[in-house]
Amino acid sequence: MVFSERGIPMTGAAYEIQPMQPAKKKSIWKTLWDQKWLMVMSIPVLLYVMLFNYYPLWGWRYAFQNLDISTIKKGADWIGFGNFEWLFNEKYFWLGIRNTLAMSVINLVFGTLASILLAILLNEVRNRTFKRTVQTVTYLPHFLSMVIVVGMAQNMFVSDGPVNQLLLSAKIIDKPVWWLGEGKYFWFLVGIINIWKEVGWNSIIYISTMTSIDPTLYEAAAIDGAGRFQRILHVTLPGIKSTFVVLLIMNIGHLMEAGFEIQYLLGNKQVYDFSQTIDVFVLEYGIQNNKYGRAIAAGMFKSVVGIILLFAANFVAKKLDEDTLI
């Protein structure tokens, strides 16, 4: 098809309708009628979002009612902030918050460091086939479900499993450690498993930032006598700084999301005080004990704190974007 300079096809119809210059005053009804198919296409999702994303927010009113399995049929009573009072006096709620924050911070710090390290090392690899092989292998665990990953972790960390065997033969420990049954190891176990699962995947964004660094910077640095480590320190790291800051801030906005699956699947009675997060707390009170009101109060607390963190993080990110980064 032949197009004019303005992108209008040079056909007969184009000259008759003149689509680039619509009538000056098109009535709103005419516009709506013209866009009827766009509306048809957006209505299903709009209804979906109303039902599955906004309607449940109305359920937050139960946080102020004594709703449980016995009152749900005949309607619960309003009890003001009773559920929240109970919540703030509940030991396991605070344990849940502590564990959530601890595991988030561990994931954030070590996960970020590991993925930056991997990105730098991959960036230094000159052999393309080797680089691609490493990438393919390290991205793989990201696509395995947490159930599978926890199952594999169990094989690795049982008392007579490969991890203990390795540490025993290296004489780092003198008797098998019971990794899965002691609370003090749980947070770091979660950290290690998360890094194993996501390090490759999280390095993608840093690798793609590094490939956009101007190669002449490296050449200039090399001519000035900078060795490999100095080039990494003075060219690569400054090059990924803005990506790092933005991702860090965004992750701080997600501090209340320590994940739910891994703690729920890997946790057990022995490590309960360290494995239970807010999400697990909500699940146990809400679904297993049918204390809907209390569980919704806990979930609401988490959501509201999460939203505040997120908007604060976005705000800081925008500020930095304006002031320092660009």
Partner: protein, 308 residues
């Protein structure tokens, strides 16, 4: 480049350039080994003799080969049923999600759309505001009564905002003239979408479809919440989750004593080998397609990173 100072003592660049790549290469090889070891180990255990596997210490290769675990697994009707449910939910979710998500992405890519701004806001806000587990559970379980039906796997996952943004970014990158010319030729928006935009979006749709499919295949929690009591609605991931929970309990209850586990295991296949066999079966589709489709996954990650 003020930070880089001229270094007279830049010692023997040759030596540094030989040592570092080797150390780096060795380190990355170890990393690959650490990544793959648990996967291969699980496959090895699944092919090992059951009672022998309880003794532990299996590495990369089965010590006493036996396909008994797979025989037990595949003789069970419930495994086949779970496989069927997993496949069905993955296929249907992917198709419906792709349909609705891409339709909305197209509508919102049109700058003249009157409700565009409002709908974008309403949809993007859902990425930030989440009512939480219990309100959603009450909606699906009590209000909509979707529990214990197959549709609970499909209906609540019909749309994904993040994917919508990815597709919309892609559509915005297509030349405007394509849709314009079709409109002049008298095609309505529905036809423009189906006959012009949709076919052009194949690369991004493939990426999004993969993400949706993997997410659906890997899901186990909705089965536990809504269909735990319905054996014929269990998925493969949920079968594995149940096996995992039992092995977690036995391993800890018995103080991880090998003898206690061994004495339970009278059959040729033990819980450990069965669990590993289910792991392999439920990971197999992903392990098989992954190497071929990896670049699509990464494209999606980069596309999403640009705008997300």
């Amino acid at each position: 480049m003020t930070a880089v100072t001229y270094n007279k003592k830049a010692k023997k660049p040759m030596q540094q350039d030989v040592v570092f790549p080797i150390v780096n290469g060795i380190f990355l090889c170890i990393l690959m080994f650490v990544t793959l070891f648990p996967v291969i180990n699980t496959v090895a255990i699944s092919f090992n003799d059951g009672i022998d596997a309880v003794r532990g210490g299996i590495g990369l290769w089965p010590r006493k080969f036996s396909a008994e675990a797979y025989k037990t697994l595949l003789a069970d009707k419930l495994t086949w049923n779970a496989f069927g449910i997993s496949v069905a939910r993955t296929v249907i979710t992917t198709l419906t999600n792709l349909l609705f998500t891409s339709m909305l992405a197209f509508a919102l890519s049109r700058k003249e759309y009157v409700f565009g701004k409002f709908i974008t806001l309403a949809v993007v806000l859902t990425m930030y505001v989440n009512a939480g587990l219990i309100p959603n559970y009450l909606l699906i379980h009590r209000t909509l009564k979707l529990s214990k039906t197959f549709w609970v796997y499909i209906i609540p996952t019909m749309f994904s905002c993040f994917n919508m943004i990815v597709i919309r970014t892609y559509i915005n990158g297509l030349p405007e003239a394509l849709a314009e010319s079709a409109r002049i030729d008298g095609a309505n928006d529905m036809r423009i979408f189906w006959q012009i935009i949709f076919p052009l979006c194949t690369p991004v749709l493939a990426t999004v479809a993969l993400f949706v499919a993997v997410g659906s295949w890997n899901q186990w929690f909705d089965t536990q919440l809504y269909c735990g009591s319905k054996k014929y609605l269990h998925t493969l991931q949920y079968l594995l989750k149940m096996k995992l929970a039992t092995s977690m309990n036995t391993a800890n209850a018995a103080n991880a004593s090998v003898d206690a586990l061994a004495s339970q295991a009278a059959a040729k296949s033990t819980p450990i080998t069965i669990r590993c066999a289910i792991t392999v079966v439920s990971a197999l589709p992903i392990l098989v397609v992954y190497p071929f489709l990896q670049r699509y996954f990464v494209t999606g990650m980069v596309l999403g990173g640009v705008k997300g």
